[in-house]
Every structure is written in C-alpha cells, then in structure tokens.
Symmetry: none
Subunit: 244 residues, 2 copies
C-alpha cells in the first residue's frame, strides 16, 4: 500500500468535483457507500471526508448527508506561495503560457516604483497560469533592473517567477492590495471570463534586503478564485508571567 487509502478517497472526491461529476450542492455518497466502494472501514472514509469538510470542500449535515460546498480555488495570504503549488495541492495540474517576456523602458510609474531613472530597462513578463487547462491567474510582473538580465533568460514554462525570485532575491518584505475590478477586455478573454464577471486583482510589491525586487499584478476570475487566510491575535505564548 503506497498511498494511504484515505488520501486516495480524498483525491477521488476532489477529482469528482473538479470534473463536474458532482456539483455545488450535490449530495455525495454516504460514508457507508464509499467504504463499500473502496473496500475500507468506515472510519477510513470518515477521515477523508472529515478532512475535506475542514478544508471547506464539503459540507456535512448530521443525519442528512454530505454535500459539495461552493467550489472556488483559494489563495492563502499568510505566505507568499507559488500559484503552481496552490494548484497542485488541489490535485490539479499546473501549466504556464508565456505571453510576453521582454524588457521595457521605465516610464513614470515604474521608475518611481523601482527608484530608478526613467528609461531604465525593467524586466517584464505576462504569464497565464492554468489549472487543468483552465486559466486561473494572469500574472503581470516587473522585476528590478539588476534582476532583468537573468529574468529574461528564464523559461517560465519550466520554472516560475516565484522560484526565480526566491533564489535571486530572497523575500524580506512585501505589501499588497486586493481589489475587485471590472477586467479589461484583454484580461477577460485571457482568463476565459463570462461577460460581467468581476475580477479579483492582487497587486503586490516585494522587497529583498533594501531594494524593491518585484512588482506584480495578479488577475483572477472572480467566480473561480478567492483569497483566504486566518489570523491569531498576539499569541502571547512567550510571556513567562502568564503561566497560571
């Protein structure tokens, strides 16, 4: 037994939802049915289903059954992660389409952002990230002049800007803003969005050491993506006086 049974069951459920076999609000098979189907004890199924409920993929109602929750991909804001990891963690396959990879001349905005004179060459990429061939994020990224040369040599179908930056300019600080926007026609088409579907835009700046390393616009289809996170206020677990 290589892969644990409960993980196989989780994958099966996630796949069934992803492929549209079970849809939002659908009742999925009961624990007993899944146990029979997979030839395992009910407790094993229980673990799989319970974990998916904790992850908000499913909703369980005692006495009634287990339902498919509203499906929407989620990005964790707690940490800066690669969209690739997020997609793959959900059991989908990630692919990147490189739309643009070039250097641009810094205009007013970029020169201000990177504190460089106008006309400085800034590395720029437009990448479309796909989850199982469905577009999930349009990444528009600019990198600092000192990174530009190496940046332009990357093959972003094989690596990601995230991986590149992790190595070349380790993250020291970041800030971001999240907005709901009406997408431009361009963005809407690339992300295969419905007419009138709002876009979720994350604008992020990252710093390494002392300089700004990168600036990114990350566009997402509003109906298929959300940002999630959690929060614990000042966990004062390190105050020796609070030991009662």
């Amino acid at each position: 037994m290589q892969r644990p049974a409960y993980l196989k069951i989780k994958t099966h459920i996630v796949e069934s939802i992803r492929k549209g076999r079970w849809r939002e609000g659908d009742l999925i098979p009961s624990e007993n049915e899944l146990a029979a189907q997979f030839q395992v004890a009910r407790m094993t199924v229980n673990r799989a289903v319970q974990e998916l409920a904790n992850e908000r993929v499913l909703v369980r109602v005692k006495g009634a059954g287990t339902y498919v929750a509203e499906p929407r991909a989620a990005t964790t804001l707690l940490e800066i992660r690669s969209i690739k990891d997020e997609i793959e963690e959900r059991g989908a396959t990630h692919a990147t389409r490189v739309l643009t990879l070039e250097s641009v001349s810094a205009g007013v905005e970029l020169s201000g952002l990177f504190s460089m004179p106008r006309g400085t060459r800034i590395g720029h990429a437009r990448l479309l990230h796909l989850a199982d061939d469905e577009p999930l994020q349009l990444e528009e990224r600019w990198v600092a002049p000192e990174l530009t040369e190496a940046f332009l040599e990357q093959d972003f179908t094989q690596t990601t800007p995230h991986a590149f930056l992790s190595e070349r300019a380790p993250l020291a600080r970041a800030d971001y803003a999240i907005e709901a926007r009406t997408p431009t026609v361009d963005v809407r088409r690339l992300l295969a969005m419905r007419a009138n579907e709002p876009a979720l835009l994350l604008v992020r700046r990252t710093w390494s050491e002392r300089d700004m390393a990168s600036y990114a616009h990350l566009w997402h289809p509003g109906s298929r993506h959300r940002f999630t996170g959690e929060f614990c206020p000042r966990t004062r677990s390190l105050d020796p006086r609070s030991t009662s």
Copy 2:
C-alpha cells in the same frame, strides 16, 4: 459526554501552549501518554493531535514525536479592526444605519457553522456603514446563540458589533475569505454602486476560546474600497532537531 473527548484534548493542548507551559519547539507528550492521561483510546488522541497539526499548531515527526510549531506569523495581515476606526483614521466621519436587528432561526448553513441544532435562535444584524454619508460597507452579521440576547439589545448607531464582540467574546482566532462578486440588486442599491460595478466581499468567522462567536459578510463597493496589508516572512523554519 457533552463535549467530545478529542475537542477537550485539543483545548488542553492549545491552552498549554497559550499559557506558556509548552513553548515553541517543545516536545509534547506522546499519543500514548495523552491517551493514558485522558483515559481514552489512542485513536481519539490521534484525531486531536492530527487536527492541530493540520492547523499548523503542532508539527509531527514520524518516529520522533510531536512538537509545538512556530507561533503564527502575527503579521498584520488583515488585522481585525473596526470599520469605524478605519474610516475615522482617514479623516472621515463614520455613521451606521441599522437596517435589521433580529434573531433568526438557524437553517442548514447557520446550524452547521455554529454547531447548533437547526432552529436555534441566532442573532442577526444588517448594518450600513457610511463614511461622510457615503456608504462604504454593508455588514451582515450573525452571532452565536449565547450572545444573541445581549446582541439584540445593542444600539448599533452608538456602538459597533466589533466593540460588542471585543467585550463579550474576545477574539481568539479568525479566518476569512475575500472574493470579487457581482452584488445583488439589494446590495448594489444600499452601497450606491454603479451598474456593473463589482463588489468586494469579505467573509469572516471569528472564534473566542472554544466556540465560534460570529460570522460576517462584509460587502464593499469595488471602486471605493480595497484591502491592503503587508508582511515579513517568517525568518526561520522550524526544525525541532536542529538544536544540535
């Protein structure tokens, strides 16, 4: 047995960490020890510890033991603040219009959220927050049954749900999701939004001590509001064995 054993064990562990009895990197008692201590089967302890590991409170190392994880990055990531404070900090005046203040009967969704049987009375409020007379947030909030009575007596033109909850159910934990949505007609009108203007929705759950205290939908006009934050990554990774 009112409260499930695995939850009691989870609470015991979290409390031990919070009170500083166990600290970052500490080895906590083994599953067998906890099972003996709480007089339960090892599988019951396993569930408690496993869930805390999934929640990143603990780190488990096969063959070695279970350790206290690095305390949550207390980043100001979407700090939980009152919309009133945010508005006033920007130099505008804050006012609240109370649209609804009532108790509702818990249906499938609310009963699941608050872990109560259906039909339980849940406090519910719809509030419109204005910045200089311009609507900026529509707050739809539900509070736990034990808070409902007091909640309904509040005058939310004078205080805020945030203030009420801070006093009655101090925040222990929260999670949230941010989405871009097409607003309902109702929401669009209340927030004085343009046709086709997307809305930015924040869904937040908050816990005090052990129970979920509150659930809120916070709607904002996409053109007039954004969420911002910043963070510094965790400076080191946790490897309990690296003490050498």
